[in-house]
Amino acid sequence: MRTLLPLAALSLWSRRVTAALCVFAIAMSVALLLGVQKIRSDARESFASTISGTDLIVGARGGPLNLLLYSVFHLGDATTAVSWDSFELVRRHRDVAWALPISLGDSHRGFRVMGTSRDYFEHFRYGRRQPLAFRAGGPFTDLHDAVLGSEVAASLGHALGDGIEVAHGLGEGSFARHDDQPFRVAGILAPTGTPVDRVVIVGVDAITAIHEGWEGGARAQPGPLRPPSPGQGPGNGKITAFLVGMKSKGAVLQMQRALNEYRGEPLTAVMPGVALGQMWRLVGVADTALLVVAGCVVLAGFAGMIAVLLTSLEERRREMAVLRSVGARPAHVFGLLLLESCFLAAAGVVLGFLVAALSLAAGAPLLARRFGLFVDVGAPGAYDLAIAAAVVGAGAVAGLVPAWRAYRNSLADGLSIRL
């Protein structure tokens, strides 16, 4: 073994162009495998930690997944709104600890604007029941106050006290601007790794106020921002959804049932954990498929390696005969080829880890911005190391093919090649 190791290394080095291509192919497949695996596990974690401590999410009658998507992930839109009266009814229920309204539909330079109550900063929990923390400032106190998610502030460069405007509808290019409604940045949240980072939070009454006079879809007449009608609720009496925390867990199912069967308005109430699980099962099929594809790419990488080594054997019969003449056993020849395969696989794994880490690090901001996926690039975990071991193992198994061929050749050739 010790005698073969330098020989295998030097022999590979002498064929470094083809060897490098082999390593590259294996590295790419390993990087793909690691990347898919990383995104898979981080997506799952990211998912599960998006919301916690909330017992029920309530929205207009519809699918639980859709409700989860628009109320928590801020993806897509609600087709129907919920009345403020229903929200108030639930909020005042004796078993309910707190209820947080969520009103969506506006945006600020591509980021969604969410209207809610001050209670949001007190009761909303994410990850392991962590409360929202402020990096600067505090909750909104005035009708014109806005609180920015960490990423909104970072990517738009807003600081405390800056004025921002809100556009009706979504998307950066939204042309119907509520430009007469300048908001002031009152607080900036610390990063959470959840969709909260990408949202502008204002009072639910402010959302209503900016829409005063827009009922027809376009502004009727410009005017100053007026506080909405009494009752603290929004003027048009509609919100998008609301989050509910119960006083006791025992009451959750009962309340969910009561809401789903509520006669006053068609509502859907879902438990976030259940909905997240359902959603993950849906997405999980796709990412298992991805993992299978990545695994196949690894196999293709090794098929390439086998082909390259087998091809090289023909021109290396001389080399093998020389080794045999100085006393190498056929087993040595076998070991030499096997070592080369392991070398290639190991180099491929190392390079693959590097490529995966670099591209994840480079792609992390994009993933976070575009997909709300927060990958943390750290030291390889136990699972990654298992992948590495498996790939090197697969390399060794693949190496058996050329090793066996070389073994047979060296037995047949002996010291001379009969060309």
Partner: protein
């Protein structure tokens, strides 16, 4: 220690059943003897060398090398025996292109502890042999082996075959790619080193002009009763 270096009796070898390549009733090379073996191509010379090297196993007969019956050894032990006691030089392509000149020479000791111990300081001994074969110049040693001339490559191969003083040196047409001047200087140096180390030399060539360098000249067809055709060279 009175045994012959190479002692073959009633040897039969065939690549394919029924078509014998070798049928040698008796063939002996004494210790320290230098023998030139000639014969037309296809007469089974390379096969004979493979049998003597212990790489090819004859169907019948005995091959004794330095008194040891090769057939009595397990394949791995035969390989070790070859590593310890036999040096080889081939017609061409003797060197591993990815090793330096000196590493190509010390390769001989890689699989043999005995030759490693006999050689002492491997690299120093390699340099001494290279110098004795007059290719010890630094600029030659540092060149990639692929850039050496054929004559230089053959000398490096000879240095490897001689490293650690194996008792037997087998050379399979090592001079056939060399021009006349290179050939005679190669042979002179090789003879000198063999004499110096007391090495038994079995040298295959179909160049009759080399006869003067050897103690004995043999033609394979004279003692091989088999008449293999050209394809089983």
């Amino acid at each position: 220690m009175g045994e012959a270096a190479i002692d073959i009796a009633d040897l039969e070898f065939s690549w394919t059943p029924g078509a014998a390549s070798l049928d040698v009733p008796a063939f002996t090379v004494g210790r320290g003897e230098r023998v030139l073996l000639s014969g037309p191509s296809g007469s089974g010379k390379s096969t004979l060398l493979g049998v003597i090297g212990g790489v090819l196993v004859p169907q019948s007969g005995t091959v004794r090398l330095l008194g040891t019956d090769l057939a009595a050894l397990a394949p791995a032990a035969r390989d070790r025996f070859r590593a310890d006691h036999v040096g080889f030089i081939f017609q061409m392509f003797n060197l591993l292109p990815y090793l330096s000149v000196v590493d190509n020479v010390t390769l001989a000791a890689t699989f043999s502890r005995q030759r490693r111990e006999r050689a002492g300081d491997l690299r120093a001994e390699a340099r001494r042999l290279l110098a004795a074969l007059s290719i010890g110049q630094v600029h030659v040693l540092e060149r990639p082996v692929a850039q050496l001339s054929i004559g230089q490559q053959q000398r490096v191969a000879a240095a490897r075959a001689l490293l650690g003083r194996p008792e037997v040196l087998i050379a399979d047409e090592p001079t056939s790619s060399l021009d006349a001047a290179a050939r005679s200087s190669f042979l002179e140096l090789l003879m000198q080193e063999c004499a110096h180390a007391g090495t038994t030399l079995l040298f295959v060539s179909h160049d009759p002009s080399l006869g003067g360098y050897f103690d004995r000249r043999l033609s394979l067809p004279d003692f091989n009763r088999a008449r293999p055709d050209a394809e089983a060279a």
